[in-house]
Protein backbone atom coordinates (compact mmCIF):
# COMPACT_ATOMS: atom_id res chain seq x y z
CA UNK A 1 0.00 0.00 0.00
CA UNK A 2 1.27 3.49 -0.82
CA UNK A 3 1.85 5.43 2.37
CA UNK A 4 -0.05 8.72 2.45
CA UNK A 5 1.26 11.45 4.74
CA UNK A 6 -0.63 12.63 7.82
CA UNK A 7 -2.78 15.22 6.08
CA UNK A 8 -3.63 12.94 3.15
CA UNK A 9 -4.39 10.09 5.55
CA UNK A 10 -6.77 12.32 7.48
CA UNK A 11 -8.46 13.56 4.31
CA UNK A 12 -8.79 10.02 2.91
CA UNK A 13 -10.23 8.77 6.19
CA UNK A 14 -12.80 11.57 6.08
CA UNK A 15 -13.68 10.74 2.48
CA UNK A 16 -14.07 7.06 3.27
CA UNK A 17 -16.21 7.91 6.32
CA UNK A 18 -18.36 10.11 4.10
CA UNK A 19 -18.83 7.28 1.62
CA UNK A 20 -19.65 4.83 4.41
CA UNK A 21 -22.47 7.16 5.51
CA UNK A 22 -24.30 5.80 2.48
CA UNK A 23 -23.08 2.24 2.89
CA UNK A 24 -26.60 0.90 2.37
CA UNK A 25 -26.53 2.24 -1.21
CA UNK A 26 -23.03 1.16 -2.21
CA UNK A 27 -22.06 -2.29 -3.53
CA UNK A 28 -21.29 -4.54 -0.56
CA UNK A 29 -17.86 -5.45 -1.93
CA UNK A 30 -16.92 -1.78 -2.17
CA UNK A 31 -18.12 -1.16 1.40
CA UNK A 32 -16.10 -4.12 2.67
CA UNK A 33 -13.00 -2.91 0.80
CA UNK A 34 -13.40 0.64 2.11
CA UNK A 35 -13.74 -0.59 5.70
CA UNK A 36 -10.71 -2.85 5.40
CA UNK A 37 -8.65 -0.09 3.81
CA UNK A 38 -9.68 2.44 6.49
CA UNK A 39 -8.69 0.02 9.25
CA UNK A 40 -5.32 -0.70 7.63
CA UNK A 41 -4.68 2.97 6.99
CA UNK A 42 -5.29 3.85 10.66
CA UNK A 43 -3.04 1.01 11.74
CA UNK A 44 -0.36 2.18 9.34
CA UNK A 45 -0.70 5.74 10.70
CA UNK A 46 -0.35 4.49 14.28
CA UNK A 47 3.22 3.45 13.51
CA UNK A 48 4.21 6.80 12.02
CA UNK A 49 6.46 9.14 14.04
CA UNK A 50 3.80 11.89 14.24
CA UNK A 51 1.43 9.50 16.02
CA UNK A 52 3.90 8.72 18.80
CA UNK A 53 3.88 10.36 22.25
CA UNK A 54 6.27 13.28 22.45
CA UNK A 55 5.07 15.00 19.28
CA UNK A 56 5.22 18.70 20.24
CA UNK A 57 2.93 20.00 17.49
CA UNK A 58 -0.04 22.05 18.64
CA UNK A 59 -2.60 19.40 17.60
CA UNK A 60 -0.62 16.71 19.44
CA UNK A 61 -0.59 18.76 22.65
CA UNK A 62 -4.35 19.26 22.35
CA UNK A 63 -4.84 15.53 21.78
CA UNK A 64 -2.84 14.84 24.97
CA UNK A 65 -5.14 17.16 26.94
CA UNK A 66 -8.25 15.40 25.62
CA UNK A 67 -6.67 12.02 26.31
CA UNK A 68 -6.04 13.07 29.93
CA UNK A 69 -9.65 14.19 30.27
CA UNK A 70 -10.76 10.77 29.09
CA UNK A 71 -8.36 9.03 31.49
CA UNK A 72 -9.67 11.25 34.34
CA UNK A 73 -13.30 10.38 33.50
CA UNK A 74 -14.24 13.91 32.42
CA UNK A 75 -15.20 12.36 29.09
CA UNK A 76 -16.57 8.87 29.33
CA UNK A 77 -16.80 5.94 26.89
CA UNK A 78 -19.69 6.54 24.50
CA UNK A 79 -19.61 10.34 24.85
CA UNK A 80 -19.81 12.33 21.66
CA UNK A 81 -17.11 14.95 21.35
CA UNK A 82 -18.70 18.37 21.02
CA UNK A 83 -16.53 19.72 18.26
CA UNK A 84 -17.49 23.39 18.58
CA UNK A 85 -17.07 23.27 22.36
CA UNK A 86 -13.54 21.91 22.00
CA UNK A 87 -12.76 24.66 19.57
CA UNK A 88 -13.91 27.34 22.04
CA UNK A 89 -12.82 25.65 25.27
CA UNK A 90 -9.19 25.37 24.19
CA UNK A 91 -9.07 28.50 22.04
CA UNK A 92 -7.79 26.46 19.14
CA UNK A 93 -8.51 26.70 15.43
CA UNK A 94 -10.94 24.19 13.97
CA UNK A 95 -8.14 22.62 11.93
CA UNK A 96 -6.07 22.00 15.08
CA UNK A 97 -9.07 20.32 16.72
CA UNK A 98 -9.63 18.19 13.60
CA UNK A 99 -5.98 17.08 13.58
CA UNK A 100 -6.09 16.33 17.31
CA UNK A 101 -9.23 14.21 16.97
CA UNK A 102 -7.75 12.35 14.02
CA UNK A 103 -4.62 11.62 16.05
CA UNK A 104 -6.77 10.21 18.86
CA UNK A 105 -8.61 8.06 16.32
CA UNK A 106 -5.29 6.71 15.08
CA UNK A 107 -4.34 5.91 18.67
CA UNK A 108 -7.61 4.03 19.21
CA UNK A 109 -8.89 6.46 21.85
CA UNK A 110 -11.76 7.75 19.70
CA UNK A 111 -13.89 6.26 16.95
CA UNK A 112 -15.40 8.26 14.16
CA UNK A 113 -18.76 7.10 12.92
CA UNK A 114 -21.04 9.02 10.58
CA UNK A 115 -19.01 12.19 10.95
CA UNK A 116 -19.09 12.23 14.76
CA UNK A 117 -16.31 11.31 17.17
CA UNK A 118 -17.07 9.05 20.14
CA UNK A 119 -14.93 8.12 23.14
CA UNK A 120 -14.08 4.42 22.96
CA UNK A 121 -13.97 2.15 25.99
CA UNK A 122 -10.34 1.49 26.95
CA UNK A 123 -8.62 -1.72 25.85
CA UNK A 124 -10.33 -2.15 22.48
CA UNK A 125 -7.18 -1.76 20.41
CA UNK A 126 -6.36 -5.48 20.53
CA UNK A 127 -5.09 -5.74 16.94
CA UNK A 128 -2.29 -3.22 17.36
CA UNK A 129 -1.30 -4.73 20.71
CA UNK A 130 -0.92 -8.18 19.13
CA UNK A 131 1.10 -6.59 16.31
CA UNK A 132 3.76 -5.27 18.67
CA UNK A 133 4.09 -8.44 20.71
CA UNK A 134 7.16 -10.53 19.82
Amino acid sequence: MTAPGREDAQAITWQVDGLLCDDHLLPSALVAALRAYRENLLRHCAARPWAQPGNRARYARLSAIIEHEIADGVRRPGDRLPFLHLDKAYHEAGKTVEHALFLLTVRGVLARDRLTYYVLPPGLDLASESDIRP
Binding site: M1, T2, A3, P4, D8, A11, I12, Q15, V16, G18, L19, C21, D22, H24, L25, L26, P27, A29, L30, A33, L34, Y37, R76, G78, D79, R80, L81, P82, F83, L84, H85, R114, L115, T116
Partner: protein, 149 residues
Protein backbone atom coordinates in the same frame (compact mmCIF):
# COMPACT_ATOMS: atom_id res chain seq x y z
CA UNK B 1 -49.60 28.28 24.19
CA UNK B 2 -46.07 29.41 23.29
CA UNK B 3 -44.89 30.32 19.81
CA UNK B 4 -42.91 27.10 19.72
CA UNK B 5 -45.99 25.04 20.67
CA UNK B 6 -47.93 26.84 17.98
CA UNK B 7 -45.25 26.02 15.42
CA UNK B 8 -45.22 22.41 16.61
CA UNK B 9 -49.00 22.19 16.05
CA UNK B 10 -48.46 23.51 12.53
CA UNK B 11 -45.75 20.91 12.11
CA UNK B 12 -48.07 18.12 13.27
CA UNK B 13 -50.57 19.17 10.60
CA UNK B 14 -47.80 19.00 8.00
CA UNK B 15 -46.91 15.51 9.16
CA UNK B 16 -50.45 14.13 8.83
CA UNK B 17 -50.14 13.01 5.17
CA UNK B 18 -47.12 10.90 6.07
CA UNK B 19 -49.35 8.45 7.86
CA UNK B 20 -50.76 7.47 4.46
CA UNK B 21 -48.62 4.65 2.93
CA UNK B 22 -49.44 5.92 -0.59
CA UNK B 23 -47.24 8.91 0.16
CA UNK B 24 -44.13 6.73 -0.14
CA UNK B 25 -44.97 5.27 -3.57
CA UNK B 26 -44.34 8.15 -5.92
CA UNK B 27 -41.21 7.61 -8.05
CA UNK B 28 -37.97 9.58 -7.73
CA UNK B 29 -38.14 12.26 -5.06
CA UNK B 30 -35.87 15.24 -4.45
CA UNK B 31 -34.32 13.23 -1.58
CA UNK B 32 -33.44 10.45 -4.05
CA UNK B 33 -31.88 12.92 -6.45
CA UNK B 34 -29.96 14.66 -3.67
CA UNK B 35 -28.63 11.32 -2.44
CA UNK B 36 -27.38 10.41 -5.90
CA UNK B 37 -25.62 13.77 -6.12
CA UNK B 38 -24.10 13.24 -2.64
CA UNK B 39 -22.78 9.78 -3.48
CA UNK B 40 -21.42 10.91 -6.84
CA UNK B 41 -19.64 13.86 -5.19
CA UNK B 42 -18.16 11.66 -2.47
CA UNK B 43 -16.93 9.06 -4.96
CA UNK B 44 -15.35 11.78 -7.09
CA UNK B 45 -13.60 13.31 -4.07
CA UNK B 46 -12.44 9.82 -3.09
CA UNK B 47 -10.91 9.44 -6.56
CA UNK B 48 -8.98 12.68 -6.07
CA UNK B 49 -6.64 10.53 -3.95
CA UNK B 50 -6.21 7.86 -6.64
CA UNK B 51 -2.43 8.36 -6.58
CA UNK B 52 -2.13 7.04 -3.02
CA UNK B 53 -5.07 4.59 -2.99
CA UNK B 54 -4.73 0.87 -3.77
CA UNK B 55 -5.61 0.14 -7.43
CA UNK B 56 -8.71 -1.86 -6.48
CA UNK B 57 -10.09 0.96 -4.40
CA UNK B 58 -9.85 3.21 -7.43
CA UNK B 59 -11.28 0.72 -9.92
CA UNK B 60 -14.35 -0.26 -7.88
CA UNK B 61 -15.76 3.28 -7.47
CA UNK B 62 -14.93 4.06 -11.14
CA UNK B 63 -16.96 1.02 -12.20
CA UNK B 64 -19.84 2.05 -9.95
CA UNK B 65 -20.06 5.75 -10.88
CA UNK B 66 -21.87 5.23 -14.24
CA UNK B 67 -24.56 3.20 -12.44
CA UNK B 68 -25.58 6.31 -10.52
CA UNK B 69 -26.68 7.84 -13.81
CA UNK B 70 -28.79 4.84 -14.76
CA UNK B 71 -32.28 5.76 -13.59
CA UNK B 72 -34.08 3.04 -15.55
CA UNK B 73 -36.36 0.57 -13.82
CA UNK B 74 -36.91 2.69 -10.72
CA UNK B 75 -33.65 1.44 -9.20
CA UNK B 76 -33.06 4.58 -7.15
CA UNK B 77 -36.65 5.29 -6.16
CA UNK B 78 -36.92 5.59 -2.41
CA UNK B 79 -33.15 5.32 -1.94
CA UNK B 80 -32.87 8.89 -0.74
CA UNK B 81 -35.15 8.94 2.26
CA UNK B 82 -33.10 6.71 4.60
CA UNK B 83 -29.93 8.35 3.41
CA UNK B 84 -31.10 11.91 4.00
CA UNK B 85 -32.74 10.88 7.29
CA UNK B 86 -29.49 9.34 8.53
CA UNK B 87 -27.63 12.49 7.56
CA UNK B 88 -30.12 14.57 9.51
CA UNK B 89 -29.80 12.19 12.49
CA UNK B 90 -26.14 13.07 12.61
CA UNK B 91 -26.94 16.76 12.44
CA UNK B 92 -29.41 16.46 15.33
CA UNK B 93 -27.02 14.24 17.29
CA UNK B 94 -24.36 16.89 16.74
CA UNK B 95 -26.75 19.59 18.00
CA UNK B 96 -27.47 17.50 21.11
CA UNK B 97 -23.75 17.09 21.75
CA UNK B 98 -23.20 20.82 21.29
CA UNK B 99 -25.97 21.63 23.78
CA UNK B 100 -28.48 23.12 21.33
CA UNK B 101 -30.95 20.63 22.86
CA UNK B 102 -30.21 19.70 26.47
CA UNK B 103 -31.09 16.46 28.31
CA UNK B 104 -34.80 16.46 29.16
CA UNK B 105 -35.54 19.24 26.71
CA UNK B 106 -38.01 18.89 23.87
CA UNK B 107 -36.46 18.76 20.41
CA UNK B 108 -38.60 21.00 18.26
CA UNK B 109 -38.36 18.91 15.13
CA UNK B 110 -40.03 21.59 13.05
CA UNK B 111 -36.81 23.60 13.58
CA UNK B 112 -35.14 21.36 10.99
CA UNK B 113 -37.99 21.86 8.57
CA UNK B 114 -38.02 25.64 8.81
CA UNK B 115 -34.33 26.35 9.29
CA UNK B 116 -32.75 23.65 7.13
CA UNK B 117 -35.60 23.21 4.65
CA UNK B 118 -35.57 19.47 5.24
CA UNK B 119 -38.79 17.82 4.01
CA UNK B 120 -41.17 16.80 6.85
CA UNK B 121 -40.87 13.13 5.94
CA UNK B 122 -37.08 13.27 6.33
CA UNK B 123 -37.34 14.99 9.71
CA UNK B 124 -39.95 12.47 10.88
CA UNK B 125 -37.76 9.51 9.84
CA UNK B 126 -34.69 11.06 11.47
CA UNK B 127 -36.52 11.59 14.77
CA UNK B 128 -37.84 8.03 14.71
CA UNK B 129 -34.32 6.68 14.11
CA UNK B 130 -33.01 8.77 17.02
CA UNK B 131 -35.83 7.40 19.17
CA UNK B 132 -34.95 3.83 18.20
CA UNK B 133 -31.29 4.50 19.02
CA UNK B 134 -32.30 5.84 22.40
CA UNK B 135 -30.99 9.36 21.83
CA UNK B 136 -34.49 10.80 22.29
CA UNK B 137 -37.67 9.51 23.89
CA UNK B 138 -41.20 9.99 22.58
CA UNK B 139 -43.58 11.53 25.09
CA UNK B 140 -46.84 13.43 24.63
CA UNK B 141 -46.37 13.35 20.84
CA UNK B 142 -43.01 15.08 21.23
CA UNK B 143 -39.34 14.08 21.16
CA UNK B 144 -37.25 14.72 24.29
CA UNK B 145 -33.48 14.41 24.67
CA UNK B 146 -32.48 11.50 26.85
CA UNK B 147 -29.80 11.96 29.47
CA UNK B 148 -26.61 9.93 29.35
CA UNK B 149 -27.16 6.21 29.60
Amino acid sequence: MTDQDDRQAQWDRLMAPLRNPAFYQRGMTSADEQTLRDIRGRLERHLDYAAVLPAGLVAMPRDYLPELADLAGGRWEGAGLPSQALGLCERIGWDIAEGVWKPGERVYSDHYYYRLSEPPVTVHCAMQILAARGDVTIRDDGYYVRGKR
